[in-house]
Amino acid sequence: MSIELLYILILTIPLLTALGVLLCHQNPNARESLTLLGGIFLFFVVAKLALSYDFEQTVTLTLLEPFPGLSLALRLEPLGLIFTLVAGFLWPVTSLYAIGYMRAHHEKNQTRFYIAFAISIFATMAIALSANLLTLFLAYEMLTLFTLPLVTHAGTDAARRAGWTYLGILMTTSIGFLLLAIIWTWSLTGTLEFTPGGILAGKAELATLGGLLLLFVFGTGKAALMPFHRWLPAAMVAPTPVSALLHAVAVVKAGVFTIMKVSVYIFGIDLIGSLDSAYWLSLLAGFTIVSASIIAMSKDNLKARLAYSTISQLSYIILAAMLGVATGVFAGSLHIAMHAFAKITLFFCAGAILVSAHKTCVSELNGIGRAMPFTMLAFLLASLSIVGLPPLGGSWSKWLLLQATMDAHSTVLLIVLLFSSLLNLFYLVEIPIRGFFATPADLNYNNGIKEAPKFSLIAILITTAGCLVLFFLVNPAWNLVEQILR
């Protein structure tokens, strides 16, 4: 099977799944089986691509040429492969979870949900496979638009307002800053192709390039760097499967992926290391990490707490990219995968608690571990992964990050990272501790609360296992990550 065909399959499978769901809208079972099948099939294709791709000889597939000299094209490179694998694996898992959740919660408009989900995955894959900034930008905007119906799914006033915040912040940053940055890059260099080593070195004065970097990073609203982070907590009105996949995996990862890709393949790590604005951005990322963690500690609503935790974790990756050292790139890329698995587990658990126990606040969770042991255990393990403790996968990326701050000779950021790990411990691990060791306020509390819905529980177990597996079997991931800077 040729690589080009694999590229096309990766893009068309989600679209065909969406079409299939549309056609089967009368039959919930058919609809959901189709979604699962589509996801599993997609993952197989991605796996095949991962195994048969030779990074020495990259394969580019040009789809269209809307402007003379600029094309919409696909090309796989190591960073993109990480993203594709993560998203490709987690889509079927989330579909599994969603089946359990949506049915147990008796959600309306499920067909619209699954269709929008599938098309969003299409956009995510397009971002991951993009060969140049134009393709990335097109897919990035499509992702915003296609996830909007998911954010506003509930149809309530609060959901609509959240939709406006979401659309407003993401569109303003992308049209106002990111597009400007892209066109500016085009006018400086005459090309938009992602090239190892970057295309901007020497094309303009450092001050100009510094400004350009600011435009790129602030233009990527999906990375939730302060002050453009408000859309993330606002989007939590969406059903939990949406929050899980999109806001822990697809949308936010698309944001940090973009920043990573721009840093490595447009600017080049050496150039980043020499820019003042990169230093300021790393400090801003550090600030975001700490302040988001502090805000997370103050939030009682579980999903809100997880949202701010996500904002904090995303800035880890931005920080890693802005350090301008090779270890930073490795750390950030690895964290994309580690954080995805951990965060999605946390959101899955939050959703399970919502559906089974009808509880949304942390303070209500005392003693729930007796009724939902698996869920709480999963929560514990995922939290430890985020904190960065072995034997969970997150420890590798945390360790690499610390290494990167030392390589970049930044004691301040080293301390920030250590401090934030401590904070993570407080606001995340508090929850399973409450769940297992605290006594519930009401002794009849655990009557009637069952464990999570079956399908959802399986999904939770899969992703938790993923956190563990990624610790022990980190080598393939590490090999992949290393190739980014080759």
């Binding site: 269209l64 040429e65 809307p66 402007f67 003379p68 919409l72 134009l134 930008f137 097109l138 905007e141 499509m142 638009l145 506003t152 149809g155 609509r160 406006w164 659309l167 407003g168 569109m171 303003t172 049209i175 106002g176 800053f177 597009l179 400007l180 066109i183 500016w184 085009w186 006018s187």
Partner: protein, 490 residues
């Protein structure tokens, strides 16, 4: 085939007369459709001929230029013809049911007559090589436009038409004065000839006055801020067919007049170096963009909102021209083409809403995302194109415009353009939110949306996407036109 240039302008005129003579509504529509089909075919043929030849020149009556009137079609004219005839064709398809609904029976024959005369006038402006001829055709199209606008169902259409008549006549007369001054100084009316004779007398007050008069005159017709007062009312109250056609074509033809006179006639050196017209255009264009977009956000009538949006889009085009660079001119011509597609889609979609609900107020559109899915989907595509989302024609123009601005080191303006896009997002987003996220109003209209209207609408909508993904044709013709214009500089 050698007579195509004259046929393309004479056919609508004759057809208009024929319609009046036959005095039958259905036949009137049929003749309109056939005529626009013929004109479209003619413009495409001429575009093909222009791939080999630089310019198509046709002398009326065999009288040689510069004594006779010459029809002169270069790439720029061909681009305008493509837009005009394409819009006319789609509007004709659309008009079958729309006119039936909105215009009283006894006026429909005259409506089609006037529509064809507007088309004839606009085509004439685009292809003539004689300055005075421009004035004549301008008035032909304008007078017919005034008549068409006044046929709107709301009585405010009458007043809107009268306002437009006042301002439009002043504008056209200014152009006439300008032409007079130029004639007096050079003794010729032929545009080619004038461009060769003007440099010798360029440094006189008469020519400078001529430049000013022509620019202001064309500016009034083009709704260049602050001469735009007539546009919002005219677009809001006129019948749907008329607002669609006008929004796609009329102001662009006025911009064409400006370009033709400034670049082909006066020449780049005079227009942009001796008179700092480029800076004036940049300022006026920017004010137009901001003013139009900001006004649009506050409108509750969607037609009026789109009218202000058109003012903003004209601002983009003028800004691009004001950059006085190859990139700028290309971006301007590209946007002239793409904007016709965008506004055509949006106004046609609104026209369908008007067809069902006899109103274009925002509140009426609540929930029609469910009851009129095809219409709203097309409106959304047009809206996304207006904002400039990648994958649509609007994005292509925006890209080139921002590139041209960055090339000219005007990056604050580039940021401004993108801010204006965000404003566009706001006012388009309001409509989409109301249509998709509000519950449908009670007392639903039972009228079914006619297929002809939907077909025309979707051809416009899909061309947005086509030209957004494949800009070969639009870029190709624009680049050709700009090369010819700049090469023609005296």
């Amino acid at each position: 085939m050698t007579h195509l240039p004259v046929l393309i302008v004479v056919a609508p005129l004759l057809a208009a007369a024929l319609i009046v003579l036959l005095n039958n509504r259905k036949v009137a529509w049929l003749i309109t459709l056939l005529t626009s089909l013929f004109c479209f075919y003619a413009s495409v043929s001429m575009l093909e001929i222009l791939q080999e030849v630089d310019v198509i020149s046709y002398t009326l009556g065999g009288w040689k230029a510069p004594f006779g009137i010459e029809l002169r079609i270069d790439a720029l004219s061909a681009l305008m013809l493509l837009i005009l005839t394409g819009s006319a064709l789609l509007v004709s398809i659309y008009a079958l049911k729309s006119v039936e609904k909105e215009i009283p029976d006894k006026n429909q024959v005259l409506f089609y007559t006037a529509l064809l005369m507007v088309l004839a006038g606009l085509i004439g402006i685009s292809i003539t090589g004689d300055a005075f001829n421009v004035f004549v055709f301008l008035e032909i199209s304008s007078l017919s436009t005034y008549a068409l606008i006044s046929l709107g169902r709301d009585r405010r259409a009458l007043h809107a038409s009268y306002q437009y008549l006042m301002m439009g006549t002043i504008g056209a007369t200014f152009i006439l004065i300008g032409i007079g001054f130029m004639y007096v100084m050079t003794g010729t009316l032929n545009i080619q000839d004038l461009s060769q004779r003007l440099p010798a007398v360029a440094d006189t007050n008469a020519i400078r006055a001529a430049f000013a008069f022509i620019t202001i005159g064309a500016g009034i017709k083009a709704a260049m801020l602050p001469l735009h007062q007539w546009l919002p009312n005219a677009y809001t109250y006129s019948p749907s067919v008329v607002s669609t056609f006008l929004a796609a074509t009329a102001t662009k033809v006025a911009v064409y007049v400006m370009i033709r006179f400034e670049l082909s006639l006066f020449g780049i050196e005079f227009s942009f170096l001796q008179i700092p017209f480029d800076k004036i255009l940049v300022i006026l264009g920017t004010i137009g963009i901001l003013g139009g977009s900001i006004y649009a956000v506050y409108q509750n009538n969607v037609k009026r909102m789109l009218a202000y949006s058109s003012i903003a889009q004209i601002g983009y085009i003028l800004l691009a021209i004001g950059l006085a660079s190859q990139a700028g001119f290309t971006a301007a011509l590209l946007h002239i083409f793409n904007h016709a597609l965008i506004k055509g889609t949006l106004f046609m979609a609104l026209g369908i809403v008007f067809f069902r609900f006899a109103s274009a107020e925002l509140s009426i559109m609540a929930g029609i995302g469910k009851t009129m899915p095809l219409t709203m989907a097309a409106f959304t595509i047009g809206g996304l194109s207006l904002i400039g989302i990648p994958g649509t024609a609007g994005f292509v123009s925006k890209w080139y415009l921002v590139t041209a601005l960055l090339d000219a080191s005007l990056w604050p303006l580039a940021l401004l353009i993108l801010v204006a896009s965000v404003l566009t997002l706001i006012y388009v987003g309001r409509v989409i939110e109301v249509a998709y996220f509000r519950p449908t109003l009670k007392g639903e209209s039972q009228l079914k949306v006619p297929k002809t209207m939907l077909i025309a609408l979707w051809i416009f909508a899909l061309s947005n996407i086509y030209f957004g993904l494949n800009s070969d044709i639009s870029m190709g013709v624009s680049t050709l036109a700009v090369n010819q214009l700049i090469g023609v500089a005296s």
